[in-house]
């Protein structure tokens, strides 16, 4: 009886070990897919609601802060200029970066109403995390494939990149920001100024819409 128990236990443990590698491979992918599904549904609920624009923006902001690795992406986008930036400039840059991210959505609340999305699949991308493919349909337009790179580096899932039609948003933004700094004589201030101008343009657009 005892021997029997031991073999059973052994088999159970063996099963656990045998199962764990495949679990380790699949778990992040399905976790990332579920994460995008849930965050997307939460975002869609706010976008489709009839809340006043400012209330909507607040809720979208809290969803983004929770779902996107704003600081990590912001650092990546600034690239080599992050290291040489002063503490005050870093704080100001991250503030502008986050505000631009949110305003880019809130200035387009009208267009974003009624969008539909579905998770197609999730593929592990090694150390980078998991790429989650989604199909997003804006009203009256052909469905577009948007891919979300979800990283687990911080211990919980966070979006670190958005890829549309083979174009990575963070890579495009990085080359753009570096061009602005380069054309501004290598000064970070020229980028911060450009970001402030863009932010106020987005605010104007949002005001005009509502």
């Amino acid at each position: 009886m005892r021997a029997h128990c031991r073999t059973l236990l052994g088999a159970f443990v063996a099963c656990l070990f045998a199962a764990s590698p495949s679990l380790a491979n699949d778990a992040p992918a399905s976790a990332a897919a579920a994460f995008i599904e849930a965050r997307g549904a939460a975002l869609k609920e706010v976008l489709d609601s009839d809340l006043p624009a400012s209330e909507k923006r607040e809720r979208v902001a809290s969803i983004l802060r929770d779902a996107v690795d704003v600081q990590g992406v912001g650092q990546f986008v600034l690239g080599r200029h992050w290291r040489t930036a002063s503490e005050a400039n870093r704080t100001e840059y991250l503030r502008l970066f986050e505000a631009t991210l949110i305003r880019n959505l809130s200035a387009r609340f009208g267009e974003l109403k009624g969008l539909r999305f579905s998770v197609v699949r999730a593929q592990p991308r090694g150390e980078d995390g998991v790429m989650v493919n989604t199909l997003v349909e804006f009203p009256g337009q052909a469905p577009a494939q948007l891919d979300w790179l979800v990283s687990f580096a911080s211990g919980r899932p966070l979006i670190v990149d958005l890829v549309a039609e083979g174009t990575s948003l963070r890579i495009t933004q990085r080359s753009e920001y570096s061009a602005v700094i380069q054309r501004g004589g290598g000064r970070l201030d020229s980028l911060l100024d450009a970001m402030r101008r863009q932010l106020s343009a987005l605010e104007q657009k949002e005001l005009a819409q509502n």
């Binding site: 080599r80 880019n104 349909e137 009203p139 009256g140 337009q141 052909a142 469905p143 494939q145 039609e165 083979g166 174009t167 990575s168 890579i171 495009t172 080359s175 753009e176 920001y177 570096s178 061009a179 602005v180 054309r183 290598g186 980028l191 450009a194 970001m195 863009q198």
Partner: protein, 254 residues
């Protein structure tokens, strides 16, 4: 006259020299690394060409694309687009063969035959419904496969044609030569058809880019730099054949 002949190349040289981006000093290795990674040595000249292209787009190209959208109904635009795509298939097949992928080339030939017959001169994309999806190859991609690198050399902004690289620009005449339609027929009517095809192709492509282009322009801090980056990333994807095939729809699904 004699003097002008001497001055013209000098002027051209001056233009090129003044159009060169300055290499950062060796004391700043990171800036130098960035300079080489960006690989846009004639950036000032490129930006000047880009300004011209923007004006051209604003005055002529975008309005033409908008008129096309307004006056030609969606199903007819899709049919026209399918015909244009179908005409590109032989060139794609030739490039697939040159890239050493005979199976894909055979697929393209089958696709072309099906869509040209069952699909009525390519108006209906029957082959996609049968599972033979659209693929596009050009000689720039073939050169990339031969060279074994996705990097196409210095970035170039071509007048009217837009973003390119040295390699892709060099490949352009070969694509004309690899396109069987270049060699079919003669006379004014054929020439007119050819011009019409190219113009429609351009307007069709621009029409599909209206919303995306506007959104990109509105979001960009530096539109030129954004387009440069996007062009290079997309070329890389196309060389690796990683893009999802795009099938045109006759109607909105909802």
């Amino acid at each position: 006259m004699q003097r002008l002949r001497l001055v013209a190349p000098l002027f051209g040289l001056a233009l090129i020299v003044s159009g060169c981006a300055t290499l950062p000093p060796e004391s700043d290795p990171e800036a130098r690394a960035e300079f080489f990674e960006r690989n846009d040595p004639i950036e000032p000249l490129n930006r000047a060409v880009f300004a011209f292209n923007e004006a051209f787009d604003h005055l002529l190209f975008r309005p033409a694309a908008e008129a096309y959208r307004i006056f030609v109904p969606r199903p007819i635009r899709t049919g026209i687009g399918n015909v244009l795509d179908n005409l590109l298939v032989p060139r794609t097949a030739a490039n697939q063969l040159l890239q050493g992928r005979p199976d894909d080339a055979a697929q393209s030939v089958v696709r072309f035959i099906i869509n040209s017959t069952l699909g009525v001169f390519g108006i209906f994309d029957v082959a996609s419904d049968m599972g033979i999806e659209p693929r596009f190859e050009d000689f720039g991609q073939t050169l990339a496969v031969w060279a074994g690198t996705t990097k196409g050399g210095p970035f170039l902004m071509l007048p009217i044609l837009g973003p390119s690289t040295l390699r892709d620009t060099f490949a352009l005449p070969f694509d004309v030569a690899l396109d069987p339609w270049t060699w079919v027929g003669q006379g004014d009517q054929v020439r007119a058809l050819r011009v019409g095809r190219t113009a429609t192709q351009a307007v069709d492509a621009r029409e599909q880019f209206i919303e995306a282009g506007d959104a990109l322009r509105a979001q960009s801090l530096d539109f030129y730099a954004a387009l440069r980056s996007i062009y290079l990333q997309r070329r890389e994807r196309d060389i690796r054949n990683e893009g999802a095939p795009q099938v045109r729809r006759f109607f909105d699904e909802r």
